[in-house]
Symmetry: D2
Subunit: 278 residues, 4 copies
């Protein structure tokens, strides 16, 4: 590959100093390098220069997560470049970038497709919104609601009704995030499964369930008190979506879209897990 | 005892029908029975008729919890009368009330003092509020904060700094509530200990810690992101208190006040646990 | 299909009364039905009459588990018939069997291939044993060992070294067994993943990890005390295998063999989960 | 105090070099120092020279635990001296010992009484053994038993019957040991409570319960399979006691004995927790 496009996060790379160094380095190697310097996590899609073969995202896991959403549908592989310590999503540190770029220019890399999830929100039976996430969807209590009632179904069967702070539905990529905090399992990020994990359920029996890639999850907010109107909110990869009220439903399933990550180094998920968590 | 005061919850006892039946029953037995029919969970204290020897609270655990706060300092024993299924706080069901009242009139009962907790909120070093709770204090993320930074100390030593949804500090009475949902242990309600339980901590090492009655907990909200102002909120027994911002501190310790519950039946906490949870 | 072979467990079906009823029923329908009445959980393989198209296993989950091992390599689909309450492995109760047999004779059924795991035990670098399991492998402390040291690797990278009671490696089918008791997640039984779950690890960071079907787990017993020789034991689907000593290694991966279960009813894993666990 | 008695563990202090240095140091300060050099963890009591005011135990937490049992009833305060890193039971490192001894000679120290637990084992209604423990009692499955049936009672009420690997009953001192591995809470070691924690229970509802100092726990091993005779074993502070069979009962309660630990340093349990665990 010899045509790069950098997504630069000015909040992380002040004055784009590092971005410019990388562009300079790539140019000297005889390859094309464009820059997108209007990064904003709330933007949902960006124009990618024609001919782009690789997108370099400079920042932390948050920046890469936002970039993944912006790039949905492009199918151009993405390389995360971490400015700080190794992240779960960034494959390379700044110090090793030069060596990695050499490999990319020689087409020596692999692409690891990470699954994404789609959520459809239904209000009064009508689709009110559709979201996509690389990490997770969270349906959390909101505002004055101390607890919300949730009816969780899998493939049309109700698996449980419980009062809880909320529920997480996450990808393997997102399993080491909020899911882990809520007691869910770690999943090899190359898997196609996804997971439901309840957040502080009042039920002692509610547990994490790992689903098959064909499974469809439904979450319905339920009225549990006569005098308070429950309110929940759906968030996707940490960004807030619609408010949800009793009767509203969310349908979550594996998206047809994936995020293609470039793997240029030999660092396995086991090594990252060990360094970051254990 | 022969002087009763009923706290009636009109939302639970429509038209006070049950309350009036109880009053009638008590009067026939030759005892005094006054009624407080202005119950409102947001009222913080009420006037108790002079000579009152026993307070009857009719409603669920929520009503009893609110009543306990209103009665703080009175030291008059309280009997919870459950309108539905057996609760953790109500000692008697409506069906068994007649028998229990006979025992009370013959002074055949015991009083179980349940500990309460005090929380002092400090903003810029100044005390901004003081709360009391029979069940628990929760310091939770609020508004747009996805996660908050918490610095938790015990007796002046910092025990942990973590990112989390929040932290619970609860009494034995409150241990079977939110604390249990968050993974905390059940505690015999006659104990004088209290417990800290983190809510969805990002740290894998954060665990519930059971404290001695002399211990003092401090929780400080910390700034963890450069671009978002974290916001938390303290709640006491499910009621919302002040908003908390980075630098604000909460000091929590066993209160000098207790809630004296009447134990007229032989039902042990083990039996209630078994029926309610297991 | 019209050629059946019943594996009968005399301990569960005294005098084979139920077995004979089923054979009689099948014969009346014009199909062949042979019986194996020498069931013994320690037998590792049995002779299957030529032409057998379906194996009926009468008993509980334990009997079906043992039968699955005996049938490895045959690739003949298996139907579990539960004598008691619905099990995780039995698809049909005795009461519904007649209806199910009608469907089978009309070739109206589906086959659900459940993955199995292979474990190779190495002592001084030499392979000492190979086991296959439909549910799980457990490597547990044994005898006078209070705790064992375990070095767990995934795909050649050491993920963790900890002191523990042991470690479980289970299939989705086995996820609702010992794995769940030890805090592991539930997995949709049609998935091809498998899971590592530590048993009472001394480390606060050890967590369940869900693996991809290509992953290879290695577990090595480590010497952790100078004065005691640690001893562990590997068990497969509840049966005891070899003793393990420091330096011994176990390699576990998805087997090439599967257990083909007949699905003749519409009962989903969600419904079974709900009935059995929640 | 000016009369010391050292319990020396030859396995930890080879040739008693350190022990002799300490004795020499104490003698130069003008105090008496006797030595017990026959330490063996299986010895249940030792002769303490008359006039002994302080017992110094040199070794790790295991040595101190064994010494505590040997010293039961003596009521002479014990100081744990750690040869390695700070332990939960050792109050002082070798490097700081000189300073601590000066304080002790000036009577500048505090005594922290740690509770102990007593277990009585009953077979066919007859008391078969009595044990005492500073850390914990474990009732574990043994031999070929994959799982044992346990009926757990508190103050005469059955709280739960479950299949499990076992159950732990521990003191606050023992809460950071096996109890923590099995998911139990940490308890401030000065508390008088004790805790029941199930080990890998098949029940999803079994949880840790923190008990009051007056509570009495009973654990009965139950027959759960028709064809296998279950076998369990009770261990106390890691030492094996009697084998237990279905029908055998264990009664556990707070002992009248305590272990008096000398606190000469300002290191709080919070600091030790943080250093050792978090």
């Amino acid at each position: 590959m010899n045509n790069f496009f950098i997504i630069a996060n000015k909040q992380k790379d002040i004055n784009l100093e590092i971005t410019e160094q990388i562009r300079h380095h790539i140019s000297r190697l005889g390859a094309v390098c464009n820059i997108y310097d209007q990064y904003d996590r709330d933007v949902s899609s960006i124009d990618i220069p024609e001919g782009t073969q690789c997108i370099l995202v400079i920042g932390g896991d948050g920046t890469i997560l936002a970039a993944a959403r912006m790039l949905v549908g492009s199918n151009i592989p993405l390389l995360g470049i971490n400015l700080g310590t190794l992240g779960f999503l960034a494959d390379v540190n700044l110090a090793d970038l030069s060596k990695t770029l050499d490999l990319l220019l020689q087409d020596q890399y692999q692409v690891e497709n990470r699954i994404m999830l789609t959520a459809e929100v239904y209000k009064q039976g009508e689709k009110a919104a559709t979201y996509i996430a690389l990490n997770d969807f969270n349906i959390n209590r909101f505002g004055a609601s101390r607890v919300i009632g949730l009816k969780v179904g899998i493939n049309g069967s109700v698996i449980d009704r419980y009062r809880a702070d909320g529920v997480i539905v996450c990808t393997p990529t997102g399993s080491t995030g909020y899911n882990l905090s809520a007691g869910g399992p770690i999943i090899n990020p190359t898997c196609k499964n996804f997971v439901i994990t309840p957040i502080c359920p009042h039920s002692l029996t509610a547990r994490s369930i790992v689903l098959a890639k064909e499974d469809i999850v439904t979450v319905e907010v339920e009225q549990i008190r006569s005098n308070i109107k429950e309110e929940a909110i759906i968030s996707f990869d940490g960004r807030e979506g619609l408010s949800l009220f009793p009767g509203d439903q969310v349908k979550i399933y594996k998206s047809q879209e994936v995020t293609p990550f470039i793997k240029a180094t030999e660092v396995s998920f086991v090594q990252i897990l060990k360094e970051k968590l254990l």
